[in-house]
C-alpha cells in the first residue's frame, strides 16, 4: 500500500483497527506500463528527493529505476494541471495507456489487524540554516547522502565525482563527522547517530576508487566503528586506501577565493592552529526522527525517549509502550542496516508471540501456472543482457554483447535491460518467454548468489521449469574488475555469455522435492540469547530443546548489573529463567554438550552427552547457536600480579559486596580496549566503554570527591548511550585519550600504583596515582565454538565468532539452511542487541517451523549406474555423508557395488563428481556434458 499514511490506531493487542489515508497517485496503477513517456513530456522540473536534491526530476515521476511498484506518480504540489487545471496536461496527452487520472482522490481504508509493526525509519539531519559549515551557502559543501548519490551509477553524474559548483573533478575532499549528532547546541541532537563514522569511511574508500589520486580526510571526535568487522575496515581504509583521519573538531568552513574552494581551520593533535584547503566538504549528517513519525507516534499513543525515539525496554527491544504495537529499525534509536534487519525479524517474532493462535488463518499459498513440457522442442534460448545502470554498461559495450549473443547457436531471442532485476523487466521476461516460446533462459548480469532465486520465480511464472536457466556474471567477475579496459571487458562479457548459452543448452528440467519438517528447535546455549529465543519460540507454540553446558542458566548476563538505560539485569534474568523453566514446551538439558550432529534443514539429529556421559539423540527441524562469549584474561598491566588491577566484571563484584578495597580507594583508573582493537584482535568489544562510564558514574554518585580517570582509544558510547558519557563528564570524570602505539603503563612505586599515559591536550606524559586499576577486558568467543562449527559445518570469522550468511541482509542466518546464530556467539553485544538477535533467530526459525514441509532444490548428485563401479571414492570425500555404498542386481541378476545418494543430505557441492574416476556420479545442472560444453565454448574463440 503505497502513498499511504496511518491516521488513527484504535483497539488493542490482537484486534486493532487502523485507519489509513491513501493519497492520490493521479496515475492508474493498473494501466501504467512505466514507459516513461509522461516524464519525457512533462515540462515541470523539481528537486529529486531520491537523489538528495543533487538532481532534478519531473512533476510526474518514479522514485527510481528499480522502484517497486514501478508505477509513475504525479507530485500534486509541482504539477501544473493540478494547480491550474487546463494549463498543461502534456502527460495525459502522451500516455499510450491512458493511465493519467487528474480526478484521482484521497481514499480512506479501515483495516483490521492483530498487531502493528512500526518501521518508519529516520531522516537525515538537514544542515540548512545552521550556518556553521556553510551548507546551502557554498555549493561544494554537501551532505553524505548527496555524496552517496554522486558516487552512484544511477545518480545525477552517473558515478562521476565532480564539484557541484563548476563540474570540475574533485581532488581533495574533507568529511566532517558529527553534524547533527552529539551536539546539543546546533540541533539538540545530543545522541550519537551510530552509523556516520562507518559510512564516512566507506564513502571515502569508494570515492578514492572512483577518482584515482583523490585525497580524503575524515575529521572526527571518536571513531565509532564498533560493529562486526568494522575496525578491520577502518584499519584497511587507513593503511591500504590511504584515507587520512584527523581527530579534532573543525571550527569553520569558509570560501577560499571565488573558484569554489573551501578553507577549513582546526586545531590539530599537536595543538597547532591549522588552515587547510579542500575542493569539497562532506557533512556526515546524523539521523533523526522525522516530524511525520512523531505525529504517527502520537496517533498510536506510544511513549518516546527525550531524543524522540520510541521508548523500549532493553529486555523487550522491539515492544513499544502499547501492547501489540512493535517498533524496529532507526525509530527505536539510530542504528545500522544489520541491526535494523535483525530488529525487523525480531518485531515479527514479538508480533507472532501474541498472534500465534491465528497463524495461517488469513494467508494462502502462492500458485504458479502449470509447467510446460519442453521435451522434443527444438532449442530456443532467450538471452537477457543487463546494463545494471552503468555498473555494467559503463565498462562494457552492452549492445555489442547483445548483438553477439544473437549469433550464438540455439539463441532465439535477445533483450537488453537497464535493470534486469526490476519488477517491470520481470513482467517483460514472462511476456517475452511466452510469446517466443523460449525454452532456456540466460541472464547476463550480476551474481546468481543474490539474483538467481528471483529469475527462477520469473521463469516459473512463465510456465518454464525454473532450472532451465543460467546466469553469466558479467558484472562482479567482469565490469567491476576490468574498469580500465572496455574492449577487453566487452570481449570477456561475450565469452561469459557464450559459455552460459553453451551450458544451458544441455540443461533439462529438474524437480524440487519436499521433505517433512520436525517442528522442534534445538537451542544451544542457555545464556540470555538462548533463553530469549527459546522463550519466544515456545510462546509461538513450537517445542524447544535447550542445551546448557554449565550447571546454571543465564550465562554472562547474570554477572552484569544494569543495562545502559538503568534496568536491573539479574532481576530480569531470573524472571526470564523462571518463565523458561516453567514452560511445558521447553525441555532443558543442563550440564550437557553437543557431541554429534547430522541432518539438514527440517531434519537434524543431534547427539547430546550429559555429565554422566549418557548420550541421547534429539530430532529437530532448526538449530539456534547461542553459545555466547567469554572474557579475556589479560597478560597486560600487571593484571596477573597485583590485586589492585582488576577486570571490569571483578570490579563490579567488589563494588556490589562493598569490599573495603573499593570503599577505601580514592583514585580509580579505567583502562579501555584491553585485548580489544589490538594487533591480534582487531575488533571492538562494543560494551566496555558504556560499562566503564556506568561504573564511573556510580562511583562519583557515591562520593563526588573520588578521582576517576578513563583512559580510552575512542569513546564508543554509541546511540543514546552518549547521554551517559555526557553525564560522566559533567560529574567530573576525566577522560584521557591514548593511541595503540602509546599504551598506558602501570608502575608500582614504593608500594603504591601510578599509571603513566601521554596527554594529548597538555602534550606531556601524565602520572596518575591509582588505588584501583580497572581493565575493560575484551570479549572473546567461547572455547566450544570451534568444535560446534565443525559439527554443524558452519563457518567462523577471523576471530572465532560465528559467521552469518550476509553481513547486512542475513545477520542471523547461516549460509546453511535451518541454522541460526544469536547473541555474543556472533559478536560482542549488549543485552538489548542480544535479545533482538535472539528474537530475530526465533522469527527466522518460525518461517520454517510454521510449514509442514520444506522444499529442497533440485541441484543434487545423481548416479549413472552404467559407469559407477562402486569404487566408493566419492563416499569418503562427501562432507555431508550423503553417499552410501550399496549392492544392486542388474538385469541378469548379477550383483554389483554401486553408490546411492541421499538427496535430502546432498548439497550439490560436486566433490563426488570431481573425485569419481569413472564418470559414475555428477551433479544435476552441472553434468559432464554441460561443463564440457562450457569449457569448449570458453576455448572456442
Amino acid at each position: 500500500m503505497t502513498l499511504c499514511e496511518v491516521t488513527d490506531v484504535a483497539g488493542s493487542a490482537g484486534d486493532f483497527t487502523v485507519t489509513v489515508k491513501e493519497n492520490p497517485r493521479y496515475v492508474d496503477m493498473d494501466k501504467c506500463i512505466a514507459c516513461g513517456e509522461c516524464a519525457t513530456k512533462c515540462p515541470k522540473k523539481v528537486d529529486d528527493e531520491y537523489n538528495a536534491s543533487t538532481g532534478k526530476r519531473k512533476a510526474v515521476y518514479v522514485k527510481y529505476a528499480q522502484a517497486v511498484p514501478l508505477k509513475y506518480q504525479i507530485d500534486a504540489e509541482a504539477c501544473i494541471w493540478l494547480n491550474k487545471p487546463g494549463r498543461c496536461g502534456a502527460c495525459a496527452k502522451i500516455c499510450p495507456a491512458g493511465a493519467i487520472n487528474f480526478d484521482d482522490t484521497e481514499k480512506t481504508h479501515n483495516i483490521n489487524v492483530g498487531a502493528v509493526v512500526l518501521a518508519p525509519g529516520f531522516e537525515s539531519f538537514d544542515p540548512t540554516g545552521t550556518e556553521v559549515f556553510g551548507y546551502g551557502e557554498y555549493p561544494n559543501v554537501i551532505t553524505a547522502m548527496q555524496l552517496e548519490r554522486y558516487l552512484s551509477a544511477s545518480g545525477p553524474t552517473e558515478g562521476h565525482l565532480v564539484r557541484p559548483s563548476d563540474g570540475k573533478p574533485v581532488r581533495k575532499v574533507a568529511f566532517l563527522q558529527c553534524v547533527g549528532s552529539r551536539d546539543e547546541n546546533l540541533c539538540g541532537n545530543g545522541y550519537c547517530s551510530s552509523v556516520c563514522c562507518m559510512y564516512a569511511i566507506k564513502e571515502a574508500v569508494i570515492a578514492k576508487d572512483h577518482v584515482p589520486g583523490l585525497a580524503t580526510s575524515i575529521f572526527y571526535m571518536d571513531m565509532r566503528t564498533h560493529g562486526k568487522e568494522f575496525d578491520e575496515y577502518y584499519t584497511r581504509a587507513r593503511k591500504e586506501s590511504g584515507v587520512r583521519f584527523v581527530r579534532c573538531r573543525v571550527n569553520g568552513v569558509e570560501p577560499q577565493g571565488d573558484e569554489g574552494d573551501l578553507r577549513l581551520h582546526y586545531v590539530n593533535e599537536k595543538g597547532q592552529q591549522i588552515e587547510e584547503y579542500f575542493d569539497m566538504v562532506v557533512l556526515s549528517v546524523g539521523l533523526q526522527t522525522p516530524k511525520h513519525v512523531l505525529d504517527l507516534a502520537k496517533k498510536a499513543d506510544i511513549r518516546l525517549t527525550p531524543h524522540n525515539f520510541a521508548a523500549v525496554s532493553d529486555f523487550a527491544p522491539v515492544s513499544t509502550s502499547q501492547a501489540g504495537i512493535f517498533t524496529c529499525g532507526a525509530f527505536a534509536g539510530p542504528k545500522d542496516i544489520p541491526q535494523s534487519v535483525m530488529e525487523g525479524s525480531a518485531a515479527a517474532a514479538a508480533a507472532a508471540d501474541i498472534l500465534a493462535p491465528a497463524r495461517n488463518e488469513l494467508t494462502q499459498e502462492k500458485t504458479f501456472p502449470p509447467e510446460r513440457d519442453i521435451l522434443g522442442e527444438e532449442l530456443r534460448i532467450g538471452v537477457f543482457v543487463c546494463h545494471c545502470g552503468s555498473n555494467i554498461a559503463g565498462y562494457v559495450d552492452v549492445e555489442d554483447v547483445a548483438n553477439y549473443a544473437d549469433t550464438l547457436p540455439g539463441v532465439a531471442h535477445v533483450e537488453r535491460n537497464l535493470f534486469t532485476c526490476s519488477q517491470d523487466t520481470q513482467e517483460l521476461m514472462v511476456k517475452v518467454i511466452k510469446e517466443n516460446q523460449l525454452n532456456r533462459i540466460v541472464v547476463a548480469a550480476c551474481t546468481p548468489r543474490t539474483h538467481e532465486p528471483l529469475f527462477h520465480e520469473t521463469i516459473k511464472a512463465a510456465g518454464l521449469n525454473e532450472y532451465l536457466f543460467e546466469m553469466a556474471n558479467i558484472r562482479n567477475q567482469n565490469s567491476w574488475v576490468h574498469t580500465g579496459d572496455k574492449k577487453a571487458a566487452t570481449q570477456k562479457a561475450k565469452d561469459l555469455t557464450r559459455m552460459a548459452v553453451a551450458k544451458v543448452a544441455w540443461q533439462g528440467p529438474l524437480q524440487n522435492f519436499a521433505v517433512p519438517i520436525t517442528r522442534n528447535t534445538l537451542v544451544i546455549g542457555g545464556g540470555l540469547a538462548g533463553l530469549a529465543a527459546a522463550h519466544n519460540l515456545a510462546r509461538q507454540g513450537f517445542p524447544v530443546d535447550l542445551v546448557e553446558r554449565s550447571s546454571v542458566l543465564g550465562g554472562n548476563a547474570i554477572h552484569l548489573h544494569n543495562t545502559w538505560s538503568g534496568e536491573h539485569i539479574p532481576q530480569r534474568m531470573y524472571g526470564l529463567i523462571k518463565d523458561v523453566r516453567n514452560d511445558d514446551l521447553i525441555t532443558i538439558h543442563m550440564e550437557t554438550e553437543v557431541v554429534e550432529a547430522e541432518g539438514y534443514v527440517g531434519n537434524f539429529i543431534t547427539t547430546l552427552r550429559n555429565k554422566n556421559n549418557e548420550k541421547r539423540s534429539i530430532e529437530h527441524g532448526v538449530t539456534i547457536v547461542a553459545t555466547g562469549g567469554t572474557r579475556l584474561m589479560p597478560d597486560e598491566y600487571g593484571y596477573r600480579d597485583h590485586k589492585e588491577v582488576v577486570s571490569a566484571i571483578e570490579f563490579d563484584k567488589l563494588y556490589e559486596i562493598r569490599d573495603k578495597q573499593v570503599s577505601s580507594s580514592n583514585s580509580f583508573v579505567f583502562i579501555q580496549c584491553v585485548g580489544s582493537r589490538d594487533v591480534d584482535r582487531n575488533y571492538c568489544s562494543k560494551v566496555c566503554c558504556t560499562h566503564s562510564v556506568q561504573s564511573a558514574i556510580e562511583l562519583k554518585k557515591e562520593n563526588p570527591k573520588r578521582r576517576i580517570y578513563i583512559l580510552y582509544r575512542d569513546m564508543r558510547t554509541y546511540s543514546q548511550r552518549e547521554s551517559l558519557y555526557k553525564k560522566a563528564r559533567e560529574m567530573g570524570v576525566i577522560f584521557i585519550n591514548y593511541e595503540l602505539h602509546g599504551k598506558p603503563k602501570v608502575n608500582k612505586v614504593d608500594g603504591s600504583f601510578e599509571v603513566e599515559v601521554w596527554d594529548h591536550v597538555l602534550h606531556r606524559p601524565l602520572l596518575i596515582p591509582a588505588d584501583m586499576i580497572i581493565l575493560a577486558t575484551a570479549i572473546i568467543p567461547n572455547n566450544g565454538a570451534k568444535k560446534l562449527a565443525q559439527l554443524y559445518k558452519v563457518p567462523l570469522d577471523n576471530f572465532g565468532f560465528f559467521q552469518e550468511a550476509h553481513a547486512k541482509l542475513r545477520p542471523v542466518d547461516f549460509a546453511t539452511e535451518g541454522l541460526f546464530v544469536a547473541g555474543m556467539a556472533h559478536y560482542p553485544k549488549p543485552v538489548e542487541e542480544s535479545i533482538a538477535q535472539a528474537l530475530a533467530a526465533s522469527a527466522r526459525a518460525a518461517t520454517l517451523l510454521s510449514k509442514k514441509q520444506v522444499t529442497l532444490d533440485g541441484i543434487k548428485a545423481q548416479v549413472d549406474p552404467d559407469f559407477c563401479d562402486g569404487c566408493a571414492l566419492c563416499v569418503d570425500v562427501c562432507p555431508y555423508h550423503a553417499i552410501t555404498l550399496i549392492e544392486s542386481k542388474d538385469d541378469q541378476g548379477e550383483s554389483h557395488n554401486l553408490v546411492e545418494v541421499n538427496l535430502a543430505h546432498c548439497k550439490g557441492c560436486g566433490l563426488c563428481q570431481g573425485t569419481c574416476p569413472k564418470r559414475g556420479i555428477s551433479v544435476a545442472g552441472f553434468t559432464f556434458k554441460q561443463l564440457e560444453s562450457q569449457i569448449e565454448a570458453a576455448l572456442a574463440v
Binding site: 500500500m1 503505497t2 502513498l3 499511504c4 499514511e5 488493542s12 490482537g14 484486534d15 486493532f16 531520491y50 518514479v62 522514485k63 528499480q66 522502484a67 517497486v68 506518480q73 483490521n112 489487524v113 492483530g114 498487531a115 509493526v117 512500526l118 518501521a119 518508519p120 525509519g121 529516520f122 552517496e148 552512484s152 562507518m198 566507506k202 569508494i206 504517527l296 529499525g329 525509530f331 542496516i337 535494523s340 534487519v341 525487523g344 518485531a347 515479527a348 508480533a351 507472532a352 501474541i354 498472534l355 493462535p357 491465528a358 497463524r359 495461517n360 488463518e361 488469513l362 494467508t363 545494471c388 555498473n391 532485476c421 543474490t450 553481513a807 541482509l809 518460525a846 518461517t847 510454521s850
Partner: protein
C-alpha cells in the same frame, strides 16, 4: 490480557529494509501482512545507497 478475538494479520508501517524484513518474516510464518508505505515506492533509505560495506554489493 488478550480478548478472545485474535486477528491473524499485521500492519507493517514503513517499507524500508527493516519494514520489508519484518513483513517477509511475518508472511513466511503464516500471517497476512499489510505493508504501508508513505511514498510512492518501497525501498527506503537503503535504496539510495550506492554500495554497502563490506561486500560492496549494490544496495538493490
Amino acid at each position: 490480557m488478550l480478548k478472545n478475538k485474535t486477528i491473524g494479520s499485521v500492519m507493517v508501517v514503513g517499507g524500508g529494509i527493516t519494514g520489508m524484513q519484518s513483513a517477509l518474516d511475518l508472511a513466511d510464518a503464516g500471517y497476512f501482512v499489510y505493508l504501508v508505505e508513505r511514498t510512492g515506492a518501497i525501498g527506503g533509505a537503503m535504496a539510495q545507497l550506492d554500495k554497502t560495506f563490506p561486500t560492496n554489493d549494490c544496495s538493490m
